[in-house]
Symmetry: C2
Subunit: 212 residues, 2 copies
């Protein structure tokens, strides 16, 4: 190997990026289902078989963007003196500032597709499940409880539940375009509610705390 990163690696990275870019463009222009893998491959100037070597399924072109990994990493970096929910909020904040303009646009586009295309949206459930697992792990570490403790799992489930609320198109008249900033704001507000407001709400007492 003469160079730190061989020609092969660079070429592969370029092909991968090219496939994703052309795919997203075509999805935007013609819609997801109307776009065939053949078209994507042709646009990226590779054969259809090569497409499937880079992405196991057509859906993965959208899902495999390892951008949320950064949030999880930031998550782990938070001091253990912080409460879990505070740590999550901090991690989200850190990740946001680390994203470039291009990153943001990619997130925006893929999230929009996740919201609108049933096949893509469906795949999101495993990501949610993974998130529950990660958050449970972190919470267990901080609280000294076991990972499979019901309280720990309940906590993690609740957090991911509110994540679903802000990212999925749950309300029919939900034609508004997805706004990353808005939904992250909502997520943080909802977390605050979970932390302090929920018990009050459940007691049917007026919760004045909905805008922290």
């Amino acid at each position: 190997m003469t160079e730190l990163q061989g020609l092969r690696e660079r070429k592969k990275a370029r092909t991968r990026a090219s496939l994703r870019e052309h795919a997203l463009r075509l999805f935007r222009e013609q819609g997801y289902t109307a776009t065939t893998v053949e078209q994507i491959a042709a646009a990226a100037e590779v054969s259809p078989s090569t497409f499937f070597r880079y992405f196991p399924t057509k859906e993965d072109v959208i899902l495999q963007d390892d951008l949320d990994v950064r949030i999880m990493e930031a998550f782990d970096r938070q001091p253990t003196t912080m409460s879990v929910i505070a740590a999550i909020r901090a991690a989200v904040g850190e990740a946001i500032v680390s994203y470039t303009e291009a990153d943001m646009e990619l997130i925006q586009q893929t999230t929009e597709l996740t919201r609108t295309v049933p096949e893509i949206r469906a795949r999101a459930i495993d990501e949610f499940a993974r998130s529950i697992h990660s958050i449970a792990g972190l919470f267990a570490k901080r609280s000294g409880r076991k990972e499979d403790d019901l309280a720990v799992r309940t906590m993690a489930g609740a957090v991911v539940g509110v994540m679903m609320v802000v990212t999925l198109p749950i309300w029919e008249n939900d034609t508004t375009d997805f706004s990353l900033v808005d939904s992250l704001g909502q997520f943080r507000e909802a977390l605050a509610l979970l932390e302090t407001g929920l018990p009050l709400l459940l007691d049917q007492v007026n919760c004045v705390n909905d805008t922290p």
Copy 2:
């Protein structure tokens, strides 16, 4: 029409049931992906085209069982003096006793498939989203708040989040067979935690109020 329910209707119902039964049997015997629609149709003695007239996709053979509708109905029947979470627990309890042995077996089987087959599991996300919507509606009615109130949505998201926790195979070493009774018990415990325990838990772990 000589009879209350024509021969046509009865025949259709029988075909539908037959298709589902043979499908579930074949899935159990050979696995989901190994079973083709052609095989299912052949076993039920209809043509493949007829299969797709009864079920839009192969997945729907499992998903379209309207058994959870009963929980939602029981939900609505609970007095409004009851807290939402208490109402949910009561509804679940009511639905359980209304299920026949055959119902239970069907639920057991379909849930097992939902847990283990990625394609089926994926489709569950829309059911979860629908549940969030329903629960939010009920909570809104009881609390006098609007349905799109963030607190209402957070609450609903948290409830569905714990639902996910008890139904999805979130922990890798999760090879144990699904037990309906166990997971319903866990669900009710988790709801109790949400109602009373969560703030305590959070307080245990150095809950520092950070600013968003």
